[in-house]
Symmetry: C2
Subunit: 376 residues, 2 copies
C-alpha cells in the first residue's frame, strides 16, 4: 500500500471521470504530491480554491477499508492487475473533452483485469430488437467459446444480451459501469450484476455509491473501448451511445465492427452508417470478429509472444518517447519532448508508463533507458 | 440497312453470347468481311469447318424482317440507339472465358437503350425472402422516382420485385434476358415481360426463339452490369448469379453496392461477404445508390455535361489508344498497339469505337486523330 495508490483513490473522487485536467496534473506531479499540494493549498491555482476543503472530507484509507470489506478492490497503474491496454488512452486524442487513463479502477468479482483473454466489446442500443439481442447473445457465446472475454455495459438491450450470451457460453464477461460497482443501474439488473460479481467482473472508475450521469456514461465508454481489442456494435440508432464507444475504439486504433440488420430497422441505422462510411467492418459471426481482433490461432503463437521484447505493445506515444530517451547520459523531460516532437504532459505520462514497465529510469538529472534494455 | 448490320445478325447466331473468339474476329475483320469469308470458306481456319454450312442456313434478312414485323428491333454499334456503355466491355478483362460487347442486341419495347436515364442494375437471388423483395421493390421505386432507370433480369425473386417496384414508381425499367426477347423464362413471367415490352424494354443478345442456358445467363450478366452505372445486390446466397453480375460491374469499374439484411438470413450472406471484403459498398436506400452512381443533382450539371468534350466517357482502353494515335501522320494499328502497350485485337476494337465517335479516322496508311479533335 503506497501513498500513491491512496492519493489516486482520493483524487479520483475529486473530479469527474475522464477529466483531462486531473489526469494531466497527476501525470505531471504524481498523485501523492498533487494530493499533498492540494491539501496544503500551495499548488491549487489550477483547480478551484475549495478543492482542499473537499479533499479533506475524503478519507481514502477509510474508503479503501470499507470497499475491501465488501469485496471491492482498487486497482491503479503499477499494480499487477492493472490492464496495460488502458495506458493507450494516455496516448490518444481526447473526445468530447474527455480522455486519458483513469486514476484507478474499482473492481468487484473474481476475474483479474490483467488476465482477460482477448477481450472484445459487444455494445449496442438499449432499445434493441429481438433480432439484435438474439444476435448479440449468439455472438458473445461464440466469442467466449473461442476463448475471448466479453466486455460491455450493463444497460437493457444489447449490453444485457451480450452478458447473457457470454454466461451461456461459459466464458468470462465484464460489465463496466458509469456508477459505483455496488450500485445497480438499471435497478432491474441487480441480479445480473450480482451474478457477474460472482463469476466475472464489475468495473468502474467511480467510487462505490456514486450515481450515473450522462457524462459518466460517455467517460465509461472510453474504458470499454480501451479495455478491449475491438468493439462490435450490434444495433445502434443514429445517436446511440454505442457509436461513442465505437469512436473511442477508432481513436485507440482498435478495430470497429458492425453487425448489419434489416435496412427497415431503425436500431440498425447507426451500424449501417458506420459500415457504409468505412468506419466499421461488417461482421456476421464470432469468427469474423476473431479474425480482426487477432485471437484466431493465438495459442499457436503464445510461445513467441512470451519471448517478445518488452518494447512490444507500447502505445504510440510511448514508442515515440522511448526513441528519444538517451542510452547513457540522462536528459530532462522537456529535452525528450523536443526530441520526440510531443507535448510535455504527454511525454511525462509516457515516461511514467515506460518507467512502470522498467524500460526507462529516472535519475536526479533526468531520464535514460533502463540498463536491461541496452542491446537486448 | 448495311451489310455490316445483317452480317452481325447472322454471326451472332453462329456462336454463343460472350464468345471472345467471335468478338475478336469481328473486331479484326469487320462483320461483313468475316461473314463473307466464312461463307466462302477462305478464312475459316479459326472456326470449325462446318461454319460455312451453318452460316448458309442463317438468312439474316429474313430473320430481321420477321423480327421487325413482331416489333423487335436489332441494334448494333454505330446505330443511334446503341448504348455506348456496352463498349466498355471491349476494354475489360474476360470473366469465365466470356466478355466483349455483344455483336448486337434484340430489343422489344418503347424505351430507347441510348436514352436510359442513369440506369442502375438491381439484382439478387431467385429464392429471395419477403424482406428482400420488399426492399428491392422499395429501392427500385425510389430510384425511378429520382429519375433513374432500373435494369434487371426476369427471374423470380429480386429481379421480379425490381421491375414491380420500378413500374409502381412510374419509371423506366429494362429486362435483359438469357433467351430470345419473344420468350418468357420463367413462363410465369409472360405477363410481366409483355407489360415491360409495352412500357419499358426487353433486351437480349440471343435471337428470337432461342432458349436460355446456364452459360447464356452468365453472358447476360455482363450486359446488365455494362448497361448500368452501378449494380445493387439486394439478396444473394454465397453462390448466387447476382454475385457474377457484381463481378462484371467491378471489372467495368462501376460501383458495386449491397443491401444488408439479417445475419441470420442465408440469402443475405453473399451480400455481407461482398461488403465485408470491400468489394461492395453498403447501401440502404435509393439516395445512397444515387450518391454512388452520380445521378444526384444531375439536372444541375446537365448543361456542363452537354458541353463536355467528346473524349469524356471513353473506356480505359480507348483512352490509352487515343493517346497513342498520331495527330498528323497516320500510323498502322500495330504501331499504335506498340505505343499504347496494348494487344493488337484490343487496339483494333478500341480504334473502331473511337472511329464511331468521330475521334479518329482511318486513312489508307493507318489511323490518325480526326480533325475536329485537334486543339479543341
Amino acid at each position: 500500500m503506497t501513498d500513491e495508490r491512496l492519493a489516486r483513490l482520493a483524487l479520483s473522487q475529486l473530479g469527474e471521470p475522464g477529466s483531462l485536467k486531473m489526469a494531466g496534473l497527476v501525470a505531471e506531479l504524481g498523485a501523492a504530491r498533487l494530493h499533498a499540494e492540494l491539501l496544503g493549498g500551495t499548488g491549487a491555482r489550477a483547480l478551484r480554491e475549495d478543492v482542499a476543503a473537499r479533499l479533506e472530507d475524503i478519507d481514502p484509507g477509510r474508503d479503501l477499508d470499507r470497499a475491501t470489506r465488501r469485496g471491492i478492490r482498487w486497482v491503479v497503474p503499477g499494480d499487477d492487475e492493472w490492464p496495460d491496454a488502458l495506458d493507450d488512452l494516455d496516448g490518444s486524442e481526447p473526445l468530447q473533452g474527455m480522455g486519458r487513463a483513469p486514476l484507478g479502477l474499482w473492481v468487484r468479482g473474481p476475474l483479474r483485469l490483467d488476465q482477460l483473454p482477448s477481450p472484445v466489446a459487444v455494445v449496442g442500443s438499449r432499445s434493441a430488437t429481438t433480432y439484435g439481442t438474439d444476435v448479440a447473445a449468439e455472438l458473445s457465446a461464440g466469442l467466449v467459446r473461442s476463448g475471448s472475454a466479453v466486455v460491455s455495459g450493463a444497460a437493457f438491450g444489447i449490453d444485457q444480451a451480450a452478458h447473457r450470451g457470454a454466461l451461456a457460453g461459459g466464458g468470462p464477461t465484464v460489465a463496466v459501469l458509469a456508477c459505483g460497482v455496488d450500485r445497480a443501474y438499471p435497478a432491474a439488473h441487480q441480479r445480473l450484476l450480482d451474478h457477474l460479481a460472482e463469476c466475472g467482473a464489475v468495473v468502474s472508475e467511480l467510487a462505490p455509491g456514486r450515481s450515473p450521469t450522462r457524462l459518466r456514461f460517455l467517460a465509461r465508454n472510453r474504458l470499454i473501448a480501451a479495455l478491449t481489442r475491438g468493439t462490435v456494435v450490434v444495433e445502434a440508432a443514429v445517436r446511440s451511445g454505442a457509436l461513442n464507444t465505437a469512436g473511442w475504439a477508432a481513436r485507440l486504433n482498435r478495430p470497429v465492427m458492425g453487425v448489419p440488420g434489416p435496412v427497415t430497422s431503425a436500431p440498425s441505422e447507426g451500424v449501417h452508417q458506420l459500415i457504409r462510411s468505412g468506419a466499421a467492418t461488417l461482421v456476421t459471426r464470432a469468427d469474423d470478429v476473431l479474425e480482426l481482433t487477432g485471437a484466431i490461432g493465438e495459442h499457436l503463437v503464445e510461445e513467441v509472444r512470451a519471448a517478445a521484447r518488452p518494447r512490444d505493445r507500447l502505445t504510440r506515444a510511448q514508442q515515440q518517447v522511448i526513441e528519444a530517451v538517451p542510452l547513457v547520459r540522462p536528459a530532462p523531460s522537456d529535452s525528450i519532448a523536443r526530441t520526440a516532437g510531443l507535448g510535455l504532459m504527454e511525454v511525462r505520462s509516457a515516461l511514467d508508463g515506460l518507467a512502470r514497465r522498467g524500460l526507462v529510469e529516472q535519475l536526479p538529472t533526468g531520464w535514460r533507458l533502463a540498463e536491461a534494455m541496452d542491446g537486448s
